[in-house]
């Protein structure tokens, strides 16, 4: 028992690793602030494209969404980070992560927005247009607010997924929370930094997971 505590809950090691982990946490936060807005914007873009009057555009948007939902994000990230240099493009870890996440997250958000927009009845569009609003105004003031409200749990739940997903940036040596923790682990030969990182993720994400459950229940009733 003593030995297990030594290996997993070693307070002395946690204390030494904490500054490094907090720096990692800061990187994770920066990463989220970059990739979540990018994904939200890109997702709205593909959702609108998937409802374009042109069949070809619609088709291309749906194929794009399904393509990037089929590739594991880590595969995409490694392809961009270690594959693109062969084409003469050398992205920094942060750029590679931003591109990979943009492609992956936009597809997931796109699918959510699409379901949201479809959940708003055609009557809403027609009524908004008949009052003299232009298409983009009807979208921005009438349809989107209702669409977003209808799929709010999915939007928040996907944000949780994105925050969790930032941990794969450790694979391309971007010093975010998991990377810092794993570095501390390999230096100290002790698992406590990983446990500490898990605790930090839990502190941030547990309230969000609870929030998703509550939102889902509210919509369901």
């Amino acid at each position: 028992m003593e030995a297990i505590a030594q290996q997993f809950l070693n307070l002395a090691i946690m204390e030494r690793a904490l500054p490094l982990l907090l720096m990692g946490l800061r990187q994770t936060a920066i990463l989220c602030l970059v990739v979540i807005p990018l994904g939200l914007a890109g997702g709205l873009g593909v959702a609108l494209l998937s409802r374009s009057p042109l069949r070809l555009v619609r088709w291309a948007a749906v194929v794009g969404i399904d393509f990037f939902r089929a590739i594991p994000p880590l595969v995409l990230l490694i392809f961009i980070y270690s594959g693109l240099p062969f084409a003469g493009i050398r992205p920094s870890p942060l750029t590679a992560v931003a591109i990979a996440f943009f492609l992956n997250t936009s597809s997931y958000y796109g699918e959510i927005y699409r379901a949201g927009i479809e959940s708003v009845g055609q009557g809403q569009w027609d009524a908004a247009r008949s009052t003299g609003l232009r298409a983009h105004q009807a979208l921005a003031y009438v349809v989107l607010p209702q669409a977003v409200r209808n799929v709010l749990p999915d939007l928040v739940s996907n944000a949780v997924e994105v925050v969790k997903l930032t941990s794969i940036a450790s694979v391309v040596a971007l010093p975010e929370l998991l990377y810092s923790a794993d570095m501390a682990r390999s230096v100290t030969f002790n698992n406590s930094p990983l446990v500490l990182a898990a605790a930090l993720y839990l502190i941030i994400l547990w309230p969000m997971v609870r929030l998703v459950s509550r939102l889902e229940r509210r919509i369901a009733t």
């Binding site: 030995a3 297990i4 290996q7 997993f8 399904d66 393509f67 939902r69 089929a70 590739i71 594991p72 994000p73 880590l74 595969v75 995409l76 490694i78 392809f79 270690s82 594959g83 062969f86 084409a87 003469g88 493009i89 379901a115 959940s119 209808n150 949780v160 997924e161 969790k164 997903l165 930032t166 941990s167 794969i168 450790s170 694979v171 998991l178 923790a181 794993d182 682990r185 698992n191 990983l194 446990v195 990182a197 898990a198 993720y201 839990l202 994400l205 547990w206 969000m208 997971v209 609870r210 459950s213 889902e216 229940r217 919509i219 369901a220």
Partner: protein, 227 residues
């Protein structure tokens, strides 16, 4: 990019495609085996937990909620590293593919327990009461009356979540599981060429596009009735 011949040479090099095709196929077998095992154990455990929760025995339900929340909140890669490096200290040593299977199964169990539970709650109380009044016991009511109605609703969200989690088999490369991504990166570093990475990416698309499309189909077919 220095002209298209070089591009083809670096990303679609035929010699390398032939050379590394067997390795990628070996990766495909490993990916499919682990994914299938994860789907079976993850969904079974999730369903069992949701059923246990239906008995509403508070301490047990609370434990299930804590488990489901924690495994939904923690990044799978954190869990994989923790189990992989941690277990040997507990005197248990599992091969890396078993670590991947274990962690992803638990993550899928956590998510599917929540979905199954939401499905159980969505069945109106009258169904329970009517079934019990015909003389069916609690478990019989659950299995013959409530679950069949509840499961129908859970098909689309479970499918989509299962796809996301089986894609996470790619995380196994970090602990050296010889799945597709691992074979591709190994081949890439041996050959100094991006063709194996391209092969890996295309292989994933071929494997997962059908399930992604299936998920989309199920979503329209068994749509959750939203207000």
């Amino acid at each position: 990019m220095q002209g298209s011949p070089r591009f083809v040479d670096v990303f679609f090099n035929w010699v390398l495609i032939e050379r590394y095709f067997p390795a990628i196929m070996k990766g495909v077998a490993v990916t499919i085996e682990i994914a299938a095992a994860v789907v079976v154990t993850g969904l079974a455990l999730g369903l069992i937990l949701a059923i246990v929760r239906a008995f509403r025995f508070l301490p047990v339900s609370a434990l299930i909620v804590v488990f489901a929340d924690a495994f939904r909140a923690l990044p799978p890669l954190v869990l994989i590293l923790l189990v992989y490096f941690g277990l040997p200290n507990l005197g248990v040593s599992l091969p890396s593919f078993a670590v991947l299977w274990l962690v992803l199964s638990l993550v899928l169990a956590a998510f599917s327990e929540e979905v199954f539970w939401a499905g159980l709650l969505s069945v109106p109380k009258g169904q329970w009461e009517a079934a019990r009044s015909t003389g069916l016991g609690f478990l019989e009511t659950l299995v013959y009356v409530v679950l069949p109605q509840a499961l129908r609703l859970t098909v689309p969200p479970i499918t989509n979540r299962t796809v996301v989690i089986t894609k996470n088999t790619a995380l196994g490369t970090v602990i050296g599981v010889g799945e597709i991504l691992n074979q591709a990166t190994t081949a890439q570093s041996f050959s100094g060429n991006a063709t194996p990475l391209m092969m890996g990416a295309i292989t994933y698309v071929i494997l997962f596009i059908p399930v992604v499309v299936l998920g989309r189909f199920l979503e329209t077919r068994f749509a959750w009735r939203r207000l």
